[in-house]
């Protein structure tokens, strides 16, 4: 719900920039960046939750073959945890470098504190690992989008 609200807010901010630009005012750069950054943070946050809720898409044509078996759950957890650990390991130096330089927007008038947004990659890695474990414990339900 919070993630959806974030996406909705990002849309509203995006619209505000279009509206301001179309009118007699100009849309500040930081407003555009706010929409993009908000969107990115919501995505990093929502991936894990969606995985935990077993809402990620699986092959629809092989529903019966996919099944809810313990084997599928086991492989899901193994692959997701492998992905999460690798992502965390390679993202850590990337995020630390951003923190060390106090990275901000490259645009004049843009937002500072880009390192906070980049830290979302670690949140993504944690979310994928934790979400897969929670999903594995619950037992997957098929979700065909």
């Amino acid at each position: 719900m919070a993630c959806g609200l974030g996406v909705f807010l990002a849309g509203a901010i995006q619209f505000a920039t279009v509206f301001l630009r179309a009118g007699p005012l100009t849309a500040p750069v930081w407003l555009t960046e706010l929409a993009t950054n908000l969107h990115a943070i919501m995505i990093f946050f929502a991936v894990g939750i969606t995985l935990a809720a077993t809402r990620h898409v699986r092959l629809s044509g092989f529903k019966k073959a996919g099944g809810n078996g313990i084997g599928v759950r086991f492989f899901t957890v193994v692959l997701a945890v492998a992905f999460a650990i690798t992502l965390a390991l390679v993202a850590l130096p990337y995020v630390l470098a951003s923190w060390q330089t106090g990275e901000g927007s490259r645009e004049i008038g843009g937002l500072s504190g880009l390192y906070w947004v980049k830290s979302g990659l670690l949140l993504l890695a944690f979310g994928i690992g934790a979400g897969a474990v929670v999903s594995g414990c619950r037992g997957p339900k098929h979700r065909v989008s």
Partner: protein
């Protein structure tokens, strides 16, 4: 010894094995990629530096301007569906056809199926969500069509085929994801060829490219339905239905009722389509900006939606929109203190209407549902794009792209042979893979190689043409039994007596029509490329 192992093929085989075993798509792609990548690094056949490129790639995907449009279009489609605007539109069209004067309704006629195609085109251009379109059309039009004497198989075929038009008619989520992948592939191809100031292909190009084939497809459906309806009418000429209630309905309909229940429900999506597509095609807004305009416009439409309990509010809302639009026009033409004041007033009015729209969704207990669904769908799409991005990185790291190039070079038929091979592969994969997997898994692998192949006249392949061919191909495979996704959706809402064979029989002519349009675009590329060239380069 490890150097001789085809790690790129091992990666593909493992990824497909994981996919087929039922592991979530994103987990299957991402997990196998990093495991094979790390193994390759340990064996010294994969450059581990490439793995450290993953965070920058994922961050680029999450903050890229292009894919930010996806959640906004998803939200827009969900608000349209959950607020009842879509069902209003369908009822308005089917109701208008149903309320024809006595004697005009004929068993097996073509009027209602053709109206359903028209509604499907509007739905495709406003929501772009195939599942929602098929389910809504199935729920609201299958029974009326069958009641009017349309054969059940044809009614099912119309709904399934029309519902999939959201794949090709902009603003389509498929075209946005495809545009992102093709844009990357086109840049990669040019950089590989030593072009360091590469041309780009945008989602706007693909949207413009999809418009003519989409309309052509709808026209083919309509011609087909008119033809078979005419044939049926001759066969059942004696079965003209006398329907006094229809006549009575027409007489009773006042101009006011017609306006609120027939014209407004149809004008609303038309206004939405004009505001979203118009702003993109005229170059006034990027797809992401247009998506945000579409979302806010949808909420305004929800606020203006005619309800028995809220007629006064609807009238007031229409008045506010008219005044705000006039104020906004004055503002644009004469910037002054007064103009800024009017601008502020119109902004306030717009804000009030958006608030009213949200409030109506909250009152109907749909707002939370919309947000949660949108968050889940968006997260799912982005996770697959993340994982596919890692998969493509590792695949290329093992030299998989070179192997593909070598494969295409030995295929008979040159460029067209390679393209035909890829199209057949995508068609077959479409039976059991979702569009997302194909767009994010297959397209990044084959598109850079295909785009580098010369056409008959020596010019490079047009990426818009390739994108539209892939989108049309995907649409066809989603309709093809036994795994067509559209058929799964329709089956979930089909009447009890309608079995699988009825569905298969119904979609067969529409699959033929889709293949006809696909072949037409293949042999006449300007069908896909002329409009974007004219709009954006001419």
């Amino acid at each position: 010894m490890a150097a001789y192992l085809p790690f790129d093929l091992i990666l593909v085989v493992l990824a497909f094995a994981a996919l087929l075993s039922g592991v979530p798509v994103a987990v299957a792609l991402g997990g196998t990629s990093v495991m094979v990548g790390v193994l390759g690094s340990l064996l010294g056949v994969f450059d581990p530096v490439l793995l450290f490129a993953i965070p920058a790639r994922l961050f680029g995907v999450a903050t890229g301007n292009l894919l930010t449009a996806v959640p906004l279009f998803v939200l827009m489609g969900l608000v349209l569906e959950k607020s009842g605007l879509v069902s209003d539109m369908i009822k308005a069209v089917t109701g208008a056809v149903d309320a024809q004067p006595s004697g005009s309704r004929q068993t097996g006629g073509s009027r209602l199926p053709i109206a359903v195609v028209g509604v499907g085109l509007l739905l495709a251009a406003s929501t772009g969500i195939v599942g929602a379109s098929v389910v809504m059309l199935g729920l609201l039009t299958l029974k009326p069509m069958i009641d009017q004497g349309v054969p059940p198989h044809r009614a099912a075929g119309v709904v399934a085929a029309t519902g999939t038009m959201g794949q090709i008619v902009p603003p389509s989520i498929v075209l946005i994801v495809l545009g992102d992948q093709l844009s990357n592939a086109y840049r990669t191809m040019q950089l590989d060829a030593g072009v360091f100031a590469p041309d780009t292909v945008s989602v706007s190009d693909l949207f413009a490219g999809g418009l003519v084939p989409g309309v052509l497809l709808a026209a083919c459906y309509i011609v087909h339905l008119a033809w078979v309806g005419r044939r049926d009418r001759f066969a059942f000429l004696a079965d003209v239905v006398e329907d006094d209630t229809s006549e009575l309905t027409v007489i009773k309909q006042t101009v006011k009722e017609t306006f609120w229940y027939r014209i407004v429900p149809l004008a609303a999506p038309l206004a939405l389509i004009v505001s979203v597509l118009g702003s993109i095609l005229m170059g006034l807004a990027t797809p992401t900006e247009a998506a945000s305009v579409g979302l806010i416009a949808t909420l305004v439409l929800v606020a203006l939606r005619r309800e028995a309990s809220n007629r006064r509010a609807s009238k007031l809302g229409l008045l506010v929109v008219a005044v705000a639009s006039a104020a906004f026009s004055i503002t644009l033409n004469a910037p002054s203190v007064l103009a800024i004041g009017l601008f502020a007033c119109s902004s306030g009015a717009l804000l009030a209407l958006v608030f009213l729209g949200v409030q109506r969704l909250v009152r109907d207990q749909q707002f939370a549902t919309v947000l949660i669904e949108a968050a889940h769908l968006t997260a799912m799409i982005f996770f697959i794009v993340f994982a596919a991005s890692v998969f493509a990185l590792v695949f290329r790291g093992f030299g998989g792209d070179e192997r593909l190039t070598a494969l295409f070079e030995i295929l008979p038929g040159g460029t067209y042979g390679a393209l035909f091979f890829v199209m057949v592969a995508i068609f077959l994969l479409g039976f059991f893979l979702e569009f997302l997997e194909i767009c994010t898994l297959i397209v990044p692998l084959v598109a850079p190689v295909l785009l580098a192949l010369p056409m008959g006249d020596g010019s490079p392949m047009n990426p818009v043409w390739l994108g539209i061919l892939i989108a049309l191909n995907l649409q066809t495979s989603f309709l093809t039994p036994p795994f067509g996704v559209s058929l799964f959706y329709l089956r979930s809402v089909a009447p009890a007596g309608m079995n699988d064979w009825t569905l298969y029989r119904g979609v067969a002519p529409f699959i033929a029509l889709q293949l006809f349009v696909l072949v037409a675009v293949f042999f006449v590329p300007p069908l896909a490329t002329a409009l974007p060239n004219w709009l954006f380069q001419g």
